[in-house]
């Protein structure tokens, strides 16, 4: 009995002193292990059960890029690499275009909201958050109905339009927080020293908020690249994006080559994330 009591006391002391670090370890395991498993399994050569390690292989990577492999026909799911590459191409076109458009619109709005006083500011402030916060599915189907009613053919253009409606808000948030963190005395000082509005913007405001603009652009690129729900509703027949394409495969079953695609996507997003964080960390 006293041993049990001692053990309980030990446990209690452990929790008291080491609870936080212990919890943090579990937390990081929870968020990292699933992704590491995917990457690990993408090199597993076992065709029948991907959970049982059967040796190292690059075959899954080769197969998604359309190279010849020793894999059986029915182990491979992709009908053609073209589909995948086409989806990837669409994704990149869409993300690049939406990034440019939403960065422009969001930055303009941030400049107006942070640096000017006007009457409907409170209204704009509510309006800018709305597209971001309403559930994706609501925005997705309302865009679908809208395009169908107005008569816009569903294509990559409709996807671009759809993405920009909420990405402007993300850019706005990043750029406006950068602007708000920048002392507006700097602009006054430039004015005072003889720089007019345009000169001041070119020489002072723009260089100083540039990291914010880049951060906003990267964020909107990532979100656009990854958007599934809205794209799912407004994508046309031949305008599938990468997430929608993979979602389609996943709905039909789990196949090992998704591991390889997923691993590539994880690596890619890590690079983009690292870039984004580098830009964000740049101090004024």
């Amino acid at each position: 009995m006293s041993k049990f009591y001692q053990n309980m006391k030990k446990l209690f002391n452990f929790l008291k002193n080491k609870f936080l670090p212990f919890h943090v370890i579990i937390f990081f395991m929870f968020i990292y292990i699933p992704l590491l498993v995917v990457i690990f399994l993408s090199f597993n050569s076992n065709v029948i059960n991907m959970m049982i390690w059967d040796g190292f292989t690059f075959d899954w990577y080769k197969s998604i890029f359309g190279f010849n492999t020793q894999l059986d026909e029915d182990a491979v799911y992709l009908e053609s690499t073209d589909q995948l590459l086409n989806a990837l191409k669409n994704s990149i076109i869409i993300s690049t275009t939406t990034t440019i458009i939403s960065t422009f619109i969001g930055t303009c709005l941030a400049l107006a909201m942070v640096r000017y006083k006007f009457r409907f500011k409170a209204f704009y402030n509510a309006l800018v958050y709305l597209p971001m916060i309403i559930p994706d599915i609501v925005l997705g189907i309302s865009l679908l109905i809208y395009f169908v009613t107005v008569g816009v053919k569903l294509s990559i253009y409709s996807i671009i339009i759809g993405h920009c409606t909420f990405l402007c808000s993300y850019v706005f948030i990043v750029v406006s927080s950068r602007l708000a963190g920048m002392n507006d005395e700097l602009e006054k000082a430039s004015n005072d020293l003889g720089g007019n509005e345009i000169y001041t913007f070119r020489k002072i405001t723009f260089p100083l908020i540039f990291p914010g603009i880049m951060g906003g652009a990267l964020l909107s690129f990532i979100i656009s690249m990854d958007d599934l729900v809205i794209t799912y509703f407004i994508a046309g027949v031949d305008s599938t994006t990468l997430p929608v394409f993979i979602y389609g495969i996943m709905r039909r079953g789990i196949k090992p080559e998704i591991n390889a695609i997923a691993s590539l996507m994880i690596i890619f997003s890590l690079i983009v994330a690292a870039l984004g964080i580098y830009y964000r960390s740049k101090k004024l």
Binding site: L186, A189, N191, D192, L193, G194, G195, N196, K203, P207
Partner: protein, 366 residues
């Protein structure tokens, strides 16, 4: 006869407060500032001094009134076209530009200057602010005092008619501040630019200015030379705000042809000069250093009066000693010069002493 450089006529400005009220930041201000003058706007925070500065620089517009520089109205001129430059409170150095780029910012906008001329001007101001060798540093690599000087150089290189300084020394520590005060004064003398200096620090204002404008609640409370402001305050606000003073309420009465100041704690005789205050409630003001302890024979100065007081606290400052003392319920602060250790013993706590003052030097305010 000094020539007027800038004149401010009937300037008015109100602000809306976030709570929906209105604040009169400037109430009908009239001011003239001359060429080559060092003028200080002095007042507590919220008195309108910074607003006045901003209307001159063009960051704020006036509701009514006019501002003229050399006779020409500038109120419709955007700030980038005004012959005015500002040194900001937190310097507002452009963080992404080197010291040189910061200083030559104004010159770079004006395309008419050639490189040699620019360099000449740059080297001149760099020498003026004593920062040779720092031209390629970035602002964050400079100390507070150095940043301050860069901000100053950046403004004066454009040879403005007027330099506006918005509490430029408030972020510096005490020692640096007094050095910068001397430097600022020198630079003003050398450059011949009129300085309008905003501060809430009265010592700074007294030591540097040719003229002080004391502001209170959006109006000019008093203007004049530092010594006038200090010794001839026109009202209670100025007397209280500038330097330390004893302010005591009471009544002026006439008794047997003699004029007396009186309250429940004490009374003393006044000279004929104070006739106008008879039968009025007044506040009398006397500065701590205007008290002395050695008796002066009545024959040499008939206007000396004295209080018999009890010491309740003494604070030793080195050359001076401050004594807090009281008559009945009235507390006085006196600042006395001392030169040896023995004298301090005279003012021990609870000792009864006599303190003297010259009645002609006190001020009465209604």
């Amino acid at each position: 006869m000094p020539r007027t450089l800038i004149s401010i006529d009937n300037a008015c400005k109100t602000y809306d407060t976030p709570e929906g009220g209105k604040v009169n930041a400037l109430k009908d201000i009239n001011l003239n500032i001359n060429y080559n003058e060092f003028v200080t706007l002095l007042g507590p925070s919220g008195c309108g001094k910074t607003t006045l500065l901003k209307t001159i620089s063009g960051f704020e517009s006036l509701d009514s009134g006019d501002i003229k520089i050399e006779g020409k109205s500038i109120i419709n001129t955007p700030s980038y076209k005004r012959p005015v430059n500002t040194v900001f409170q937190n310097y507002a150095l452009f963080p992404h530009m080197s010291v040189k780029k910061n200083i030559t910012y104004g010159l770079d906008i004006n395309k008419s200057l050639d490189k040699a001329e620019k360099d000449k001007k740059f080297n001149y101001v760099l020498n003026l602010i004593n920062l040779e060798g720092f031209e390629n540093r970035m602002p964050h690599q400079l100390s507070g005092g150095q940043q301050q000087r860069v901000a100053l150089a950046r403004a004066i290189i454009n040879e403005p008619k007027i330099l506006l300084l918005d509490e430029p020394l408030s972020a510096l520590d005490k020692k640096l501040r007094s050095n910068m005060q001397i430097e600022l004064k020198n630079i003003q003398n050398q450059s011949g630019i009129s300085f309008i200096f905003v501060t809430h620090d009265q010592e700074e204002a007294l030591s540097m200015s040719d003229r002080i404008i004391v502001m209170e609640n959006g109006s000019v409370s008093q203007e004049g030379k530092p010594e006038e402001i200090y010794y001839q305050p026109k009202n209670k606000f100025t007397a209280d705000f500038i330097g330390e003073t004893n302010l005591i309420n009471g009544l002026v009465e006439e008794e047997n042809g003699l004029i007396k100041f009186k309250n429940e704690n004490f009374e003393f005789h006044l000279t004929k000069d104070f006739q106008q205050y008879i039968n009025k409630k007044v506040t009398f003001s006397i500065r701590p250093e205007q008290f002395f302890t050695n008796d002066v024979p009545k024959e040499s100065n008939p206007y000396i009066s004295n209080f018999n007081v009890e010491v309740i606290q003494r604070l030793f400052f080195g050359p001076n000693i401050k004594i807090v003392c009281k008559i009945k319920n009235q507390i006085f602060h006196c600042l006395l010069k001392i030169s040896d250790q023995e004298t301090i013993k005279l003012f021990e706590k609870n000792k009864k002493i006599s303190i003297y003052f010259d009645v002609t030097k006190i001020k009465l305010f209604e």
